[in-house]
């Protein structure tokens, strides 16, 4: 029963975030790059003011899988770095925290790009 409730929360919060994005697209005709940047910056802002932690505790993957989670990881890493090793930490902490996602995306993207061929868009 508890696992069902967890999935319900994940679904509602994750879906809700995407719903807000779709409303933005419908109303302002934003392109996907703009949408991604907007939500990323929102994630960084929410983490910086300490709100994101609560959303994450409530919805788990519903909060971390959207690009908001990527932004929150960046901000969290920078804040932790600033606390532990000053200016150097502030400069390197963010990138260090998202190295898994960034490195994975670049490496896997490169490999898949090399081995697969373009599909005609029908």
């Amino acid at each position: 029963m508890e696992i069902f409730l967890t999935y319900l929360k994940v679904f509602l919060v994750g879906g809700g975030i995407c719903l807000i994005g779709q409303i933005l697209i419908n109303l302002t005709k934003m392109t996907s790059a703009r949408i991604l940047v907007t939500f990323l910056l929102t994630g960084i802002f929410l983490e910086a003011i300490g709100v994101f932690e609560h959303i994450k505790n409530f919805a788990q993957a519903g909060a971390t899988i959207p690009i908001l989670g990527f932004g929150s990881n960046l901000a969290k890493g920078a804040i932790e770095g600033a606390k532990s090793s000053g200016l150097f930490g502030a400069l390197t902490g963010g990138v260090k925290a998202v190295a898994a996602g960034l490195g994975g995306a670049i490496f896997i993207g490169f490999i898949i790009g090399v081995i697969s061929n373009a599909h005609s868009k029908s």
């Binding site: 994750g14 995407c18 996907s32 960084i44 959207p66 898994a100 993207g109 898949i112 697969s116």
Partner: protein
């Protein structure tokens, strides 16, 4: 002059009538369902990783979950399946981390025939580039602000 402007207005009204209306309700519902389902897949992956590798701490689990989601997306994009999810789900397929991965692989495949370096590698970041630039810059700003408070 006045006549021209009135004519323009009339013409615009006429054009707007003929334009296909954005189906707000159905696109929103589709985005909600797609986004929710992708997040549920992510939740399942992180639960599975926690189950099989109980020694991992929270950061490692979330890192592996992200990588796994990216791997799945890249493979689906390679087979042309993610494009179909994208045309169905709209924002529901863009905003999750899978959309970020798709935005890297999709132009890479498309521009491959222009060469590996100037085609594939240079175009990988046509959408992801701004995201990375804004993300890293903003995170450094936040870090520097935290130095002073």
């Amino acid at each position: 002059m006045m006549l021209d402007k009135e004519k323009q207005k009339e013409y615009l009204a006429e054009v707007r009538k003929e334009m296909p209306k954005t189906k707000h309700f159905s696109t929103m519902l589709k985005a909600f369902i797609t986004g929710g389902l992708i997040c549920c897949v992510g939740q399942s992956i992180s639960l599975l990783i926690k189950h099989f590798f109980p020694e991992f701490d929270e950061k490692t689990v979330s890192g592996f979950t992200t990588m796994f989601m990216i791997l799945i997306t890249c493979v689906l994009t390679g087979f042309g399946i993610y494009d179909k999810i994208g045309s169905f789900g709209g924002a529901g397929s863009i905003i999750p981390i899978t959309g970020f991965a798709n935005s890297i692989v999709s132009p890479a495949i498309e521009h491959k025939r222009e060469g590996i370096i100037l085609g594939l590698c240079a175009n990988m970041f046509s959408i992801a580039g701004p995201v990375i630039v804004f993300g890293i810059s903003a995170s450094i700003l936040v870090g520097i602000i935290y130095l002073f408070i």
